[in-house]
């Protein structure tokens, strides 16, 4: 096991910056997920940790030792690639054992360690097959085995699940989580899939355009996004944004002159333009044309996802989606949307989050005592 310290790392491709002055620490034994859209520099960062990519400026240290000039094979990292990158001419056993062969491990020990890893991953019967004779999920497992057999200090995952079909992806996700719980190996996992990111991470890093937008636990990042980018990137359907202005009392006034949250005030000059962000799942329905503290909604399309309803429409010309429990009775007449003040996110013109004064801290309110010991998620 090992820790990683990244200090002011830059990466230029020619003159194009891919990573711009990035600082990040990965604690020993933690599972860090780097999430971002394609081209945000997340894979480049991972490859720099691996040593497959030179570092233009800055330092990467593993267990306190600067590894900028250390060969990939000597950094104590093992990597799982997106397209598995198995050696096509070698059997499963040879694929898994190649690192040991290179390291000069004796044949008997090699066989024993390959056997142990293969048993762990359920590959015992496939050891004599070639990669071309395996299914996608089996190849993925071989790639994992190849990483595990060296007992590295760090696992690096470069979008390892994106080539699998949806069902297999969920299964492998759980398997990776389980393996991490067993092995406690420091892991860095790059993905653009927010479900993978939310479910796997101890620490979630959201990257955009070569810089880190936010670092935190998945709950923190989801519930208190530091920027409009993060707010928009996480969540499906994504967060709704409504333009608003600040009135003389500091309240947010939506288009149409409504101020649905009189108790929320912002320490901003009157007339400032902000954006109010509301998660689709935080919105509730109120029947009627105009209700106090609610926003009139012009519904358009209703999607039934089976476990949830998504109602798409507009509020004063802005696209808004509402996620509702499957059993919700959909009103036939005019309808308004309502959100508690604790569900309101606000962003400045440059995309930074702005907190209301005396922000109400949202807490889940269990109705009655749960029959089990509830572990509540951290919201701050």
């Amino acid at each position: 096991m090992a820790s990683i310290d990244i200090t002011n790392v830059h990466k230029l491709y020619g003159r194009t910056p891919a990573v711009r002055g990035l600082d990040l620490s990965v604690e020993d034994g933690s599972f860090l997920v780097i999430l971002g859209p394609s081209g945000c520099g997340k894979s480049t960062l991972l490859r720099m940790i691996a040593g497959l990519e030179d570092i233009t400026a800055g330092e990467i240290a593993i267990d306190g030792r600067v590894v900028n000039d250390v060969e990939p094979g000597r950094r104590g990292c093992a990597m799982v690639f997106q397209n598995y990158a198995l050696y096509p001419h070698m059997t499963v056993a040879e694929n898994i054992g190649y690192a040991l062969k290179v390291a000069g491990v004796a044949k008997a020990e090699r066989r024993e360690r390959i056997g142990r890893v293969a048993a762990m991953l359920g590959l015992g019967d496939l050891l004599d097959r070639k990669p071309s004779q395996l299914s996608g999920g089996q190849r993925q497992r071989v790639a994992m085995g190849r990483a595990m057999v060296r007992q590295p200090g760090i696992f690096l995952f470069d979008e390892p699940l994106s080539n699998l079909d949806a069902k297999l992806r969920i299964q492998m996700r759980l398997e990776i989580k389980r393996l991490h719980r067993e092995l406690k190996t420091t892991s860095v996992f790059v993905t653009h899939d927010q479900v993978e990111a939310m479910t796997l991470a101890d620490t979630l890093v959201v990257m955009n355009q070569g810089v880190i937008e936010q670092v935190g636990t998945p709950a923190e990042v989801f519930r208190r996004p530091k920027s409009r980018f993060v707010a928009n990137f996480l969540g499906s359907p994504p967060m709704n944004f409504l333009p608003a202005g600040i009135d003389r009392r500091g309240r947010a006034v939506l288009a149409g002159g409504r101020a649905p949250w009189p108790e929320l005030t912002f320490d901003l000059p009157a007339g400032s333009a902000i954006e109010i962000g509301l998660r689709p799942g935080d919105l509730g329905l109120v029947a009627g044309r105009e209700t106090d503290g609610a926003i009139p909604f012009q519904p358009d399309i209703l999607e039934d996802l089976g476990n949830e309803l998504h109602w798409h429409g507009t509020v004063e010309g802005n696209a808004v989606a509402v996620a509702l429990p499957a059993a919700t009775a959909i009103p036939s007449g005019p309808v308004c949307l309502k959100a508690p003040p604790s569900a309101v996110h606000a962003f400045l013109g440059d995309g930074r989050r702005v907190e209301p004064e005396a922000a109400p801290i949202p807490t889940p309110k269990p109705s009655g005592e749960a029959p089990w010991r509830a572990t509540s998620l951290s919201y701050t």
Partner: protein
């Protein structure tokens, strides 16, 4: 199958049969002439009336033919090995590293392909004579030890090799020679086969360079040996055809054994 499609297929096969006849006929004529007696050489007919091995006996009497065939095999084999080895290393360097002048080096190698032999033959000859390589098999091999053709074919083949697999080997701790030998090489069978076969055949058919370099019959190669029967008084057709048959037998055998791989490799490496 419609009548039109059937007619098309028959026409296509007709053309192919005609073309293969065109290709096979000279070989057939060479072989059957080699079995004709001297007085029968210029008479017509598809078969010799009294087949004889006299021409072969004459060839073996006139020159150390087996030794010459051996020389040629050694020369062609060594040239092939050398070209494949240098081609692999050069291609690997060009694919694996980005270095200043890398693109220039690649272009120069490609350009050297276009330089005709006549341009370099005098300098090569002078160099060979200064190095004491005149009249030796080594002198035949060394100037051909590196060839643009094999570098470029292997370069293209390696470029198509997935980068992640090489990176996975680096993560597994393998060095560059090990990656080349244990990871890349075993996956390059088709291009290696096509380069080797083409190289072997072109070395086997080499005529002009041996003609310049070789003085004595026992150091000669087979294409020079053939020339022995073309004299100012006229060609000695019987022994010439017998020697030519002997010269083409190894290549013919190579084709018969490796026909599948030869065709496969040509299809896969895109040289047709």
């Amino acid at each position: 199958m419609t009548n039109k499609a059937r007619a098309g297929r028959i026409a296509a096969h007709g053309v192919m049969i005609a073309l293969s006849f065109l290709a096979i006929f000279p070989v057939y004529w060479m072989i059957q002439t080699s079995f004709r007696a001297e007085n029968e050489i210029f008479s017509g007919g598809w078969f010799p009336t009294a087949p004889t091995l006299k021409n072969y006996a004459d060839v073996l009497a006139a020159m150390p033919m087996l030794r010459i065939l051996g020389n040629t095999a050694v020369m062609a084999g060594a040239t092939t090995l050398a070209q494949v080895a240098t081609g692999l290393l050069a291609a690997w360097a060009l694919v694996r590293w980005r270095f200043p002048g890398g693109a220039l080096a690649r272009s120069l190698i490609a350009l050297s392909w276009l330089v005709p032999f006549q341009v370099v033959m005098i300098p090569n000859y002078v160099l060979a004579s200064k190095l004491g390589l005149l009249d030796t098999v080594a002198g035949l091999v060394i100037p051909n030890a590196a060839a643009a053709f094999s570098v470029l074919v292997l370069y293209n083949a390696m470029r198509g090799f997935p980068r992640e697999v090489v990176e996975a080997a680096r993560m597994d701790g393998a060095g560059d020679f090990r990656i080349l030998a244990e990871v890349v090489l075993p996956n390059l069978r088709a291009p290696l086969a096509s380069v080797s076969i083409l190289c072997f055949i072109s070395a086997w058919n080499e005529y002009f360079w041996p003609l310049l370099l070789i003085r004595r019959m026992e150091n000669s190669v087979v294409q020079i040996g053939l020339q022995f029967f073309m004299t100012q008084e006229g060609n000695d057709w019987g022994p010439l055809m017998a020697a030519a048959t002997l010269a083409s037998l190894p290549i013919l055998a190579l084709y018969l054994v490796l026909q599948r791989q030869v065709v496969d490799s040509f299809m896969k490496s895109g040289i047709r």
